[in-house]
Structures are given as structure tokens and as C-alpha cells.
């Protein structure tokens, strides 16, 4: 049964120290985050209930407990907007708070960029002699190393995981045509693939299997991590690792909005069987073809292009929304989706205001034209990377945006507000407000609980296992009435 789609993104950022190749990315990431948190209250993230090795297919491999980033004492904070900001391996990572609409997700995804931008300014101010850091919201260093931009969606636990695999795989293969952030060249480890000068996505090169638990090698199109951070009887958190980091707001809006509707259709068994003959090969074929005309074989013998596959999902989504989920948000997603697909079908390169791969390609084409550059020229790779620089005065996406050359769906005021304020319609509201109001009393937090120090001997755990409880509507009055954390806990227990 389709349940409301609560979602969020986790972005791992690339980090560099310009002119200081010896810098330590782990330490720098930690300093970046802790310096930012130094101006806010810091809450220790509660790892106790995380189980990243539990697999959705039904087994739990014996975990070898490696030293975690937590063990190293690396920065790991929860922010007043309900987000989590932390070091993951050698990257700063930002997980948005839980959102209920695609538009809210776009705002909070962009707020994450602002948090990083502010962090860089804080480090420059507090540590003026430290190497000048730069941070990139992208997924590859162009040398075969990739880092992820993950999406998370709340799904009904009763939905068979096999249905999710069957119906989502062709969707992920085909949505690359509007979700891709573009990349100069290829990074495929295998020999028998075509080399291209430019492809649609950053990530396709790194995906080698259809289904699995891995996230760092032999990446699967469908990731089976089963760590719901919510009532496990009712909910699954679908952990999507295949997406690119998007700078364009329309691309982010569509990525999340379309996937959410597709998941509802899967929950309600509303889709036909579009199984591909070879999903991994198809994934690569689609990414490598910027004309968006390449067809891929389906198991039933048909040959469809990515755009044609997307039309299948779109047509079913249109019927589904009319019948089951008639909301203004869904209609906005459908309208955008239709417009994008129509353009992709005829003139993909007209979408330079909406899609990252086209905006970037247009910039590269202009430089090639003006400066007579071949595709192998370093300058083009430099543009590819700097497109994703989070600093608004340096990032090339941001220069395009400030010149009015890409479409915005949000205002800077909304994004700035989301840096400090949580969404009002999910449990992120309760988490974020408690952090703001009682920073010294929140001893630790996870996605589905807060650990409160009321001054009593034992810490109190407040479970938050329902993603849609703890909204402003539910708790604003309560929070206004309690004078401290002890009073809050007492009220919740009564």
C-alpha cells in the first residue's frame, strides 16, 4: 500500500586544499564541520542503533567491526534544522532532514551547500594560516575514485523487495537522461567499453551489478541496505546510491519527485513489467549517449530508448496521480517531467536551464568554440570540476545561476532559512527544535531518537520511530510550554 513518501538526500562532498597536495582530507573535513558547529551547539550522534550491514534480502552477514569514524573522534553533529553533518571516510557529508515535498527537499539540499560554504568561511576566519580549502558537490575525481549522493525514501515494509528491484531498475537506468550531472570522459575499469568525450552521468562508470549491499566497489543499481531508522515492522528506508549530485534545482526536483511517485506506483502494483535484458549494460549505454537516442533491449524483446522508457513511467504516473494521489505537488512534478521528456526527445541541448549535464555541456562547448580546445584539454576537466564548487563566487554553476542562465525554483531567503530551521511536516521538526531550544540537554541523537540529559542520573531516550510524528502541528505547543528538557521529558511520559 502506498504510504506518504518521506525522503532526504545524503551528499558526500569532494574536498581539496588548493596548492597543498599534502593536506589530510579526513582531518580537514573534521575541522570544517567542527568549526561550523563551534558556532552552534554540538550534539554527539548516537550510533548505537545503526546497522548498515543488515541486508534487505533477509540475512545479516557477520560484521567485522572495523574502526569507525566515530571511534576516531571525528566531527559528527546534528544541526538546528534537523540535518546531520559529519565526516564519512575522507569526505564531509551532509544529510538533509526528512522532507515531505520535492520542493522542500530542493530547499534543504541547497541549504546543505550553504552550510558547507559557511563552514569554509568560518575556517578561513578562524584558521587564516591553514591551507585554503575547496569543496565540490560532485561524485568523481576523474581518476576512478567516486563518492556518492544518496537518496532515501520511506517505503511500505509490506512491499516485496523483488517488486522494487523489478520496477525501479529500468527507472534508474532511464532517469539518467535528466538526473545526470555530466562528465568529461569515462572512468570505466573494463576494457571493452566505448570511450566517449562526454557522458550524461558522473556515476554510471562505477556501477557493475544489479542488486547488492556494497557502496564502495562493484556498486549495485539497487542497494539492499536495510536500516529503516523507523519502526521496522511498518517501514523500509530505500537507500538509493546511483544518483549524481545535482546543482540545478529543476534536476533535483525531478529526481526526487519522479522517484517518489514511481515508488508509490510500485507499492500499489501499478506498473507494467519493463525488465531490461541487461540492466548494467543498459545503464552504461544510456549514460554514454548524449543524443539520448540509444535504445536498449528489454527482456520481452522490445528495444526502447531511455526517453521512451521514461514515457512509460510518466504515462502510468499520470493515471496514478489522477486516480490515487491528486495533489498540486504531484501535478507540478508531472508537468515538469512531461516538458523535460518532450525536449529530450527532440532537442536535448535546449535544456541548459534545467539539467546539469546540458548546462555543463553548453559551457564546455562554448569554451571549445572560443579557445579551440580539444576534448582532452585539462581546461575542460577543470571546468567539469569547478562547475560543482560550492562557493558562490567560484562555482561555475553558481556563476551561471547568478547570471540568470539556469532556472531557480527557490529563493535565497528560503534556503538561508532552511540552514537554521527544520521542515515543519516531519519528525525533523521535533529534532531540530529540541537542538535549538535545549542544546546542552541533548546528549546524543540519531534519526529515530533523542537522548536527553534531564539532570537525573539516567539519560532519557525519546524514541522517534514515526517519521511523520513530531511535526510542528504535533509539538509546537508542547515545546512552547516546557521550560527545560526535564519538563519536556516529563510531559512526554505523562
Amino acid at each position: 500500500m502506498a504510504i506518504p513518501k518521506v525522503f532526504g538526500t545524503e551528499t558526500e562532498f569532494g574536498i581539496a586544499a588548493i596548492g597543498s597536495p599534502e593536506f589530510n582530507p579526513v582531518l580537514s573535513s573534521s575541522i570544517l564541520i567542527s568549526t561550523y558547529a563551534g558556532s552552534l551547539r554540538r550534539i554527539r550522534w548516537d550510533y548505537e542503533q545503526e546497522s548498515p550491514l543488515r541486508d534487505a534480502r533477509g540475512f545479516e552477514p557477520v560484521p567485522a567491526r572495523e574502526g569507525s569514524d566515530e571511534d576516531l573522534g571525528l566531527a559528527n553533529v546534528i544541526l538546528p534544522n534537523g540535518a546531520r553533518y559529519y565526516v564519512d571516510h575522507a569526505h564531509p557529508e551532509y544529510s538533509t532532514p526528512e522532507c515531505l515535498t520535492p520542493r522542500a527537499l530542493v530547499i534543504h539540499d541547497k541549504a546543505g551547500e550553504r552550510v558547507v560554504e559557511r563552514s569554509l568561511k568560518e575556517v578561513a576566519r578562524e584558521l587564516p594560516t591553514a591551507p585554503r580549502l575547496a569543496v565540490y558537490k560532485n561524485n568523481s575525481d576523474g581518476k576512478g575514485n567516486s563518492y556518492g549522493t544518496h537518496e532515501n525514501y520511506l517505503v511500505d515494509r509490506a512491499t516485496p523487495f523483488g517488486d522494487i528491484v523489478r520496477d525501479l531498475t529500468p527507472f534508474f537506468v532511464s532517469r539518467q537522461v535528466f538526473c545526470g550531472a555530466g562528465k568529461v570522459g569515462t572512468e570505466a575499469p573494463w576494457d571493452d567499453r566505448r570511450r566517449v568525450d562526454y557522458q550524461l552521468t558522473q556515476r554510471a562508470d562505477f556501477f557493475e551489478t544489479e542488486v547488492g549491499l556494497e557502496t564502495t566497489l562493484k556498486r549495485p543499481i539497487i542497494n539492499t541496505r536495510d536500516e529503516p531508522h523507523a519502526d521496522p515492522e511498518k517501514y523500509r528506508r530505500l537507500h538509493v546510491i546511483i544518483g549524481d549530485a545535482n546543482m540545478c534545482e529543476v534536476a533535483t526536483f525531478l529526481k526526487i519527485g519522479t522517484t517518489a511517485i514511481v515508488l508509490k506506483m510500485i507499492e500499489d502494483q501499478f506498473l507494467p513489467d519493463l525488465t531490461l535484458q541487461n540492466p548494467v549494460a543498459a545503464l552504461h549505454e544510456v549514460s554514454l549517449d548524449i543524443t539520448c537516442t540509444q535504445t536498449v533491449p528489454l527482456a520481452d524483446g522490445r528495444q526502447l530508448s531511455a526517453v521512451q522508457l521514461q514515457w512509460e513511467y510518466f504515462e502510468h504516473a499520470k493515471k496514478y496521480v489522477d486516480r490515487e494521489d491528486d495533489t498540486p505537488e504531484n501535478h507540478e512534478v508531472l508537468s515538469r517531467w512531461e516538458g523535460i521528456l518532450a525536449a529530450l526527445e527532440t532537442e536535448p541541448l535546449t535544456l541548459h536551464r534545467e539539467l546539469d549535464w546540458v548546462a555543463k555541456y553548453r559551457l564546455l562547448a562554448a569554451y571549445r568554440e572560443r579557445d579551440g580546445l580539444a576534448w582532452g584539454d585539462s581546461k575542460l576537466r577543470a571546468i567539469d570540476l569547478q562547475y560543482h564548487d560550492v562557493r558562490r563566487e567560484k562555482g561555475l554553476y553558481h556563476r551561471l545561476a547568478s547570471s540568470g542562465k539556469v532556472e531557480r525554483l527557490t529563493t535565497d531567503e528560503e534556503i538561508d532559512a532552511a540552514v537554521m530551521e527544520p521542515p515543519e511536516d516531519t519528525r525533523a521538526y521535533f529534532r531540530g527544535r529540541c537542538i535549538s531550544m535545549f542544546p546542552d540537554a541533548i546528549a546524543a541523537a540519531s534519526w529515530d531518537s533523542l537522548i536527553v540529559d534531564t539532570g537525573a542520573e539516567a539519560l532519557q531516550r525519546i524514541p522517534m520511530r514515526e517519521p511523520l510524528r513530531g511535526t510542528r502541528e504535533h509539538v509546537e505547543e508542547l515545546l512552547r510550554e516546557v521550560e527545560d528538557a526535564a519538563a519536556l521529558v516529563a510531559r512526554l511520559q505523562s
Partner: protein
């Protein structure tokens, strides 16, 4: 339509195989290129001023540990 086919042909060339600068020559001749140039001149000038200085060094030294 001829315009569309030419555009598609240019795109297809842009997408596959190794590139020669004959491709750049082909783009120059189409009206789309002139349009692009006009619209993009200002932004390229602006971007010139913020691009990291030594492109080769910048790109070469950007190495990440794989994440996730």
C-alpha cells in the same frame, strides 16, 4: 528536417569516439554556434576571471578517496 538532422549529427559526434578538431569546424558553420557564442561571451569572460589558475595542476592534484 535538415536543421534537426544536422544538430543530431553534431550531437552524435559529440558523444562518441575520439574527437578531432574537424568537429569544432563543423560547429562553427552552423547558426546554432553563432547563437551560442553571442549568448555565452559574457559568461565566459566572467568565468575566465574565477577559473582556478593552472588547469592542469588543478585537475591533476584533485584526488579523492572513494567514499560511501
Amino acid at each position: 528536417m535538415p536543421q534537426e538532422q544536422e544538430q543530431k549529427k553534431t550531437q552524435r559526434k559529440g558523444g562518441g569516439g575520439s574527437q578531432s578538431d574537424a568537429d569544432a569546424g563543423q560547429v562553427t558553420q552552423s547558426s546554432k554556434a553563432a547563437e551560442l557564442k553571442g549568448e555565452m561571451d559574457d559568461i565566459l569572460d566572467e568565468i575566465d576571471s574565477v577559473l582556478e589558475e593552472n588547469a592542469e595542476e588543478f585537475v591533476k592534484s584533485y584526488v579523492q578517496k572513494g567514499g560511501e
